[in-house]
Amino acid sequence: MGYIVAIPLLPTIAFALLAPMSGRVRNKAVWVSVAAVIIALALSLVAFVQVWPGGHEGEAVYHSSAVFASIGTMDLGVGVLLDPVSAVMLVVVTLVGACVQVYSIGYMHRDARIGWYYAVLSLFTAAMLVLVLADNFLQLYMAWEVMGLCSYLLIGFWHEQVAPRKASLKAFLTTRVGDVGFALGLAVMYATAGSFDFSVVLHDFQWAPAAATTVSLLLLFGAMGKSAQVPLHVWLPDAMAGPTPASALIHAATMVAAGVFLVARALPIFEASGVALTVTMLVGVITALAGGMLAAVQHDIKKVLAYSTISQLGYMFVALGAGGIVAGFYHLVTHAFFKSLLFLGAGVIIHAAHTQDMREMGGLARKMPVTTVTFTIGSLALAGIFPFSGFWSKDEILTVLWHGEHYVVFALALAAAFVTAVYVARLWFRVFTGPEQSELKEAHIEMLVPMGVLAAISAVIGFGSPYFAQFLGHEGEWPAAPIALTSTAVAGLGLALGWWAYGRRTKVLNTRPLKQRAGFVYGALTMKLYFDITYDFFIVRGYGLLADALAVFDTTVVDGIVNGAGAVWRSGAHVGALIDRYVIDGAVNGTATLVRAAGARVRRIQVGRIQAYQGLMVGAIVLLMLWLVVKGA
């Protein structure tokens, strides 16, 4: 099964080919990238079939590794580990990746740097595949960071404009805050368990609860950065400044889910800790709720989807925190498909409407049938409506919470599901119904086909729910009626409310009284719950001021002491220069004459200092030699 290695290698080669090309040649060679990801998809499907029917949890179907660093007796390796989890991830990453790359042919065709765009997409795909195939945490971390680079490059793709430039910096730095935690977690893991390998850290090593808590909380912190969990979520909405298909791949389906993947992989350590699970669940539920509410007040269609992604990722953390690895992982998979579908749809909508502001959209349903149908499927999946995929994975998460007796979290998760349905309806009715506000035209075929593929998957994948659990080596069950009905009712209620507020075009849309009544909450939500403003004021500006203050400190105090000492030395050197002239000059007359002749009048003092030192050094060495001779004799 050596072909597994080719899966991450193909996009790597595509990047290595494209990156050094000149812009013009590269723009014509984007097919290299598309071909690489499509072949990788084919190989991933083969791998998936070979792993099928799975069932042995954690058991690798294929594993090989090579050492890239040896320190003492410790070997650090890079590996390829194919087990049910990575097999699923391979398919998700290459399938969404292929859809996005095909779609981008149409979406980006007029961009002057389309070649560079594809090069970065390829590098990203390669890094993500290395991450999911990792057999150790160090490799995972390294791929993780490279994905961060790609995310940075794609968010800032249109860097001539200010907003993408700022957003890319914000994204890289915010996720790196988490990465400091991740890196420290690796250091603690290494010092405690003596390895990064999954086989050691997750299976052989017996974790003491305290060490497990430290490591897992640090890893969780890293995951929170990457997966945009509160309070490190602030970068993801801004990241929407990048090209929309890149958002679909990186900031919806794959990279942001890497945090969830990390926690899922490291779950045995979290379980050994116990506390860390609870923290994960709390972080998740707060994020699920906050993200959903923030999504409900956005006017930019991409920002709605971005906050929605934050919220759905929170859902996955909740599941993992409750110990529901299958539920959390399943939601990762379904979300990857329906959310990338929604983003691709949003790309078409933005192109058609020439705006991202939903208040200036309307009536797309009549003119853009394919987009409407696919987007509607994605919306219903997101809202959790039977039989679309989101219903099934959300149901599993709720079931895990109920059976784990986390009733408060269960209630909050239901509330988040309700808010989700509200903002889905708000978005849908605003965009697809009502009067047309511009000339609308359906997108090209290469954009519609990927959307169709993703929509088809989102429509039917839910029925695989119990088999998915079995594939991962767990008990698979069909949804139980009470929870399924409850969640459906809640989602239906949310959709109804959304329709009531935004769908009835009989009245002119006016939500102002509602906003006024909910004044404080609405205000807080439009201020993004004050996270950005707080960070900006205290951390960004605070650090800038601190750095400036330190710069002044460095030149006045630290260097001042040095210059002060120099001044003292210089006045001493005058005395030294006198001694020099009358004592040493007398002894070494010829040399001194030469030096004096060479030294210009202005440079006298400085030359004097060097001379004084040389005198001192020569004197010291002469004394030393004398002493040695005396002692030796």
């Binding site: 320190i71 430039r165 730095l173 250091a187 603690v188 750095a547 330190l550 010291a620 040695l628």
Partner: protein, 484 residues
């Protein structure tokens, strides 16, 4: 004889170029390039024949002043060969990067070659007197390079550099003499792991610490560095940051740790603290700079803090990491200074607010600067990450207080902050007025950078390309520290 040839071949070149008529600059540069290239070839030949499993190799030992136990003693192990390679490579690059030097070119290339003599010598000398001679020798050409070919404040900067580092050397000299009086020899390799008295070790370590720490430089002894870098010509900056700073940390690894292991353990917490402070302090100051060269200079303070962190950890991870940072910083900071210099030659400004939009106007220069920036901020897959990560691992594993390690780790975030805010302003965006008319890098300039790009990728992707040289040496040093 091979090592002698490697050291003194540039000396021959220096004498020849120095004696040439002043208007023969174009001949002098070809001689300098030929000599440095031949020297690099010799080092590569040496490295190919080097057996990583053995200790000191290619040793040459001739009695020099036998009455005092002074000998002409040379040899290389895995760490010195790493640094020797870097020295030879960067010397060649410095010469080619200075191809257009028009001010007193014969003297200039003579100085670069003389500098290489001292740098090569420091990394292969195994006798204290010899070591000290090479150590001091380095100062002279660097003093003239800054003082003669430097920027507007070159006099202040060169004098400050000279006196500051000499101040440190005096203490080192005291330490050397004390060691001689105690052991009766100047032979560095014979002194390793002798089990010298603990109090004696402590004081001698203090002397060496001052000598080496100025060179590294460690906070608060760093203020000579930004001045020297800003005023120095590009090639001198490359060698100053790439090689001369490493002489300080090399001193710790070659001398202070093996000879004074007991004191090294005692001093470890203090050095760790200074290292962590250097990391975040250097990073914060880099963030505050408006001059590109100053930014890179302060980032050096931060990066060298990681070297000290690894050295103080006394672990295999930390020491391997320390050498990895030394190597990577030499390569990556070399790239940064070179590109900043190339941009400066075209725009005549190094002010960050005047330079923007490089990637649009000059994509090759902008792309390579971005590459070097990401290597510098420690992106995995590029060389900077290797050492940073290993030193953090080592520091955490050692018994130093965890708080300092956390502070050092925050330095990784701060590195991203100052590097990327530079990238935002300089590389991205629309081209500024100063940038809008400049042309992209020439073939010669790209050729100067390509070897550094290749090394950055090689070490970053396959760590053993470097660690296979350093790890055996590190293992021996760690054993000495553990036994003390």
């Amino acid at each position: 004889m091979l090592l002698t040839a490697i050291i003194f071949l540039p000396l021959v070149g220096a004498i020849v170029t120095a004696l040439m008529p002043k208007d023969r600059g174009s001949v002098a540069r070809w001689i300098a390039a030929g000599v440095t290239a031949a020297d690099l070839a010799l080092v590569v030949f040496l490295a190919l024949r080097f057996d990583v499993a053995q200790g000191m190799q290619f040793a040459e030992k001739i009695a020099w002043v036998p009455q005092f136990g002074i000998s002409y003693h040379l040899g290389v192990d895995g760490i010195s060969i790493t640094m020797l390679f870097l020295s030879a490579l960067l010397s060649l690059i410095a010469v080619v990067a200075s191809w257009k030097m028009e001010t007193k070119p014969t003297a200039y290339f003579a100085m670069l070659l003389l500098l290489e003599v001292g740098m090569n010598g420091v990394f292969v000398a195994l006798d204290f007197v010899l070591f000290y001679v090479f150590w001091e020798l380095v100062l002279v050409p660097m003093y003239f390079l800054i003082g003669t070919w430097g920027g507007p404040r070159r006099e202040y900067a060169s004098i400050k550099f000279f006196l500051y580092t000499l101040f440190g050397s005096v203490f080192m000299l005291v330490g050397i003499i004390a060691l001689y009086l105690q052991t009766g020899t100047f032979d560095i390799s014979a002194m390793a792991d002798l089990g010298l008295p603990a109090t004696f070790q402590w004081w001698v370590f203090a002397a060496f610490f001052l000598g080496f720490a100025v060179k590294v430089p460690v906070f608060p002894l760093h203020t000579w560095l930004p001045d020297a870098h800003v005023e120095a010509p590009t090639a001198a900056s490359v060698l100053l940051a790439g090689i001369m700073l490493k002489m300080g940390t090399y001193g710790f690894i070659r001398i202070a740790l093996p000879i004074l292991p007991n004191a090294a353990n005692q001093w470890a917490p203090f050095i760790t603290a200074l290292a962590a402070i250097s990391i975040v302090y250097g990073a914060a100051l880099a963030f505050a700079q408006t001059d590109l060269k100053k930014l890179v200079a302060y980032s050096s303070v931060s990066h060298m803090g990681f070297v000290m962190l690894g050295i103080a950890s006394g672990t295999a991870e930390g020491l391997n990491g320390a050498v990895a940072v030394m190597f990577s910083h030499g390569v990556v900071t070399g790239m940064l200074f070179l590109i900043v210099g190339m941009v400066y030659e075209r725009t005549h400004t190094r002010m960050i607010q005047d330079v923007s939009g490089l990637s649009n106007q000059v994509p090759v220069a902008g792309g390579l600067l971005a590459f070097a920036s990401f290597a510098s901020l420690g992106l995995p897959g590029l060389s900077g990450f290797v050492g940073e990560f290993l030193t953090l691992l080592g520091a955490w594993k050692s018994s130093v207080p965890a708080a300092w390690v956390v502070i050092a780790a925050i330095g990784v975030l701060l590195a991203a902050a100052y590097t990327l805010s530079m990238v935002q302003r300089v590389i991205l965006g629309a081209p500024s007025e100063a940038v809008s008319k400049i042309s992209d890098l020439t073939v010669r300039e790209v050729a100067v950078l390509v070897p550094l790009v290749v090394l950055t990728l090689t070490v970053g992707l396959y760590w053993n390309s470097l660690l296979r040289f350093t790890d055996p040496v590190v293992t021996r040093i760690v054993a000495m520290l553990a036994g003390a």
